[in-house]
């Protein structure tokens, strides 16, 4: 029996392996679901993964290896720098890819083969500004961001948004992804007279900042958390009290709150049953991406150019994360949610959805 192979270049090892693992699980679940539902017109689908580590060079190697196998479609990682590095190769190879990196710079390359599965960082920044200024109604904002492509870029986007809306950024502090002591940053925030604090980071540093924020007595300053705020992987690291005065911006809200409710609930249940962890934004968008690619394969067959054209024309696809549709710059997901915690629980409810118009 023939099978159709789809490529995926993901960070399986190295510091980004956390996101990589969820991505892989999302794809694995999709593989299972597609094949049990009859596969691609009777053929089985299989995802072939290659590791990208944290190196651009290795990421390109991984991509080229998959490209060499003449696969009809390839998934890339969620790391903007890797996506940027691979972009010229994608153009050369003329193969459609989906990626999860939020960086606006990738979209600006105007590469017709690149499809972004997650909300871009401009949207995320806009939602964050809305959370701080619209929902919390604060004007003096402090930002702490992780020092890397994601953190620096989104902090800058947020700063612009806040200024645009007549607010003021009173402090911008940074930290390294492996930092452990955030007292200097938090003290500067305190001294700056900020009314609200926005944090862009990854799971571990975000959790540590939330913990140390309470220890240092900064719970009076409300905090907007942008990464994994509603996800078990982060919430399991902190205590309930730590969540005092925290709201967040979430890529995906699952379950009943999700616009595609029932589908989403089933996905969460299947995912959790299979991998013993609940899905996060990475797992769900790549699951959706895989499903969309499966649709494309069913409709137009394994031809690279036809798949690209199909995806470029795709609209209103109802996935487990939200509703996808090809838009400007290859963006496919157009909404994120501002969430708040239900008192006494490590669970969130949606305050507001923010879309890119």
């Amino acid at each position: 029996q023939e099978e159709i192979v789809v490529g995926a270049a993901l960070p399986i090892t190295g510091p980004f392996a956390g996101a990589g693992l969820q991505t892989l699980q999302g794809l694995q679940l999709a593989e299972h679901d597609i094949n049990t539902a009859g596969g691609i017109n009777g053929k089985k689908i299989r995802f072939q993964t290659e590791d990208t580590q944290v190196s651009n060079s290795v990421a390109i190697n991984a991509f080229l290896k998959l490209d060499q196998a003449k696969l009809p479609f390839i998934f890339l990682s969620s790391f903007t720098v890797q996506n940027l590095a691979t972009e010229p190769e994608v153009k050369k190879a003329k193969v459609a890819v989906m990626y999860g990196g939020g960086g606006v710079t990738i979209g600006e390359q105007n590469n017709p083969y690149m499809f972004r599965l997650r909300a871009n960082d401009a949207l995320r920044a806009a939602a964050t500004a809305e959370a701080a200024m619209g929902v919390l109604k604060k004007k003096k904002i402090a930002i702490i961001n992780v020092q890397d492509q994601f953190g620096n870029a989104i902090a800058e986007l947020l700063r612009k948004k806040i200024v645009e809306r007549g607010g003021e950024v009173v402090a911008t502090e940074t930290h390294n992804i492996r930092d452990t002591d955030f007292a200097p940053q938090l003290q500067k925030v305190k001294n700056s007279g900020a009314e609200a604090l926005v944090v862009f980071g990854y799971i571990r540093d975000q959790a540590l900042i939330i913990k140390q924020r309470r220890a240092l007595g900064l719970t009076g300053i409300p905090m907007v958390s942008v990464t994994s705020v509603n996800e078990d992987s982060m919430l399991s690291l902190i205590a309930l009290e730590d969540l005092e005065n925290v709201i967040g911006v979430a890529d995906a809200v699952f379950g009943e709150a999700n616009p595609n409710g029932p589908k989403s609930v089933k996905f969460v249940d299947d995912f959790t049953a299979r991998f013993k962890v609940p899905p996060d934004g990475f797992g769900s968008v790549y699951y959706d991406g895989a499903m969309m690619v499966a649709e494309a394969l069913k409709k137009v067959g394994p031809d690279r150019e036809k798949i690209r054209a199909y995806l470029a024309g795709l609209q209103n696809y109802k996935g487990v994360t939200g509703t996808f549709g090809a838009g400007a710059n290859g963006d496919m997901l157009h909404a994120v949610s501002i969430v708040e915690f239900i008192p006494g629980k490590k669970a969130v409810r949606v305050v507001k959805n923010v879309t890119d118009k």
Partner: protein, 316 residues
Amino acid sequence: MPGSSIEFRVVILAVVLAILGIATFLSDYDLRLAILAILAAISVIGLYFAFGLAGMIHLAQGAFVGIGAYFSAVLVLRTGLSPWITVLIATAATTLISALLAYPMHRTKSHYLALITVGFNVSFEVIIRNWISMTGGYDGIGGIPLLRIGTPLRSELEFFYIAVAALIVCALIASLLRTSHIGRAMVAVRDDELAAAASGINVARTKTLAFVICSGYGGLSGALYAHYSGFISPDDFSLGRSIILLSMLIVGGEFSILGAIVGAVVLSYLPEWLRFVGGGYMAVFGLLMLGVLIIMPNGIMGSLRSRWRLAMSKDR
């Protein structure tokens, strides 16, 4: 020195020609791996001076590769000079910069020196990431013009030839230096600094020279890389990279130039060869590296050479 026999030279020539010929049949992916291995080999030959000869545990070669890459990329994009020229300028500039950095290392030895280089590499990463106006920060620099000779060949193949040529020149220069009083002085300094000084060797100068030559090779390798990949960002010049580069030398055989090349090729290819292992392939990589160190006392070339010697002595 086996290099002196005519037979040996003929063999080498044949091998080189064969490689160049076989290359035309390779896919772009295979060529890419080969090119990356060759570029790594150039910087590892640099380490052959600093570590193999002068015994300085040098864990910042990644940074010097980065300096070369950024220097050439920025220069080419700002001035519009030909990349051929900027590669040369970048190599020279890396050499000069390393001469300045060599100063604080003058009085330190072994582990202290190793850790200074670690500090230097980490600092380099931080600076490159934050000096956004110059380096583009985390986003890196894209759209760097590629090195072309202007042949109708596939661009990967063309660059492959450029890289092979660069490697041969680098290896040749290295072997000329090794067989001179300069190379001898470096080995002497590694073996016994005190006795070297008493024999009239300026230890500080010799170490500086080894360090500077090493960085020059790194700079060249980096500049070539920039004009090969067209995109550079800080991740490619991390401390981890430096550690792997040094490992390449030791796995290949720290006492020989051929060892530097072999080590670079083996450790460049190994992760790619191991991709079939799946999730745990980097663990296997670590194990294999350890295995090579255990089974082959002086690296791959070291033990090949002693095998060869043993065979020769039995023949007689």
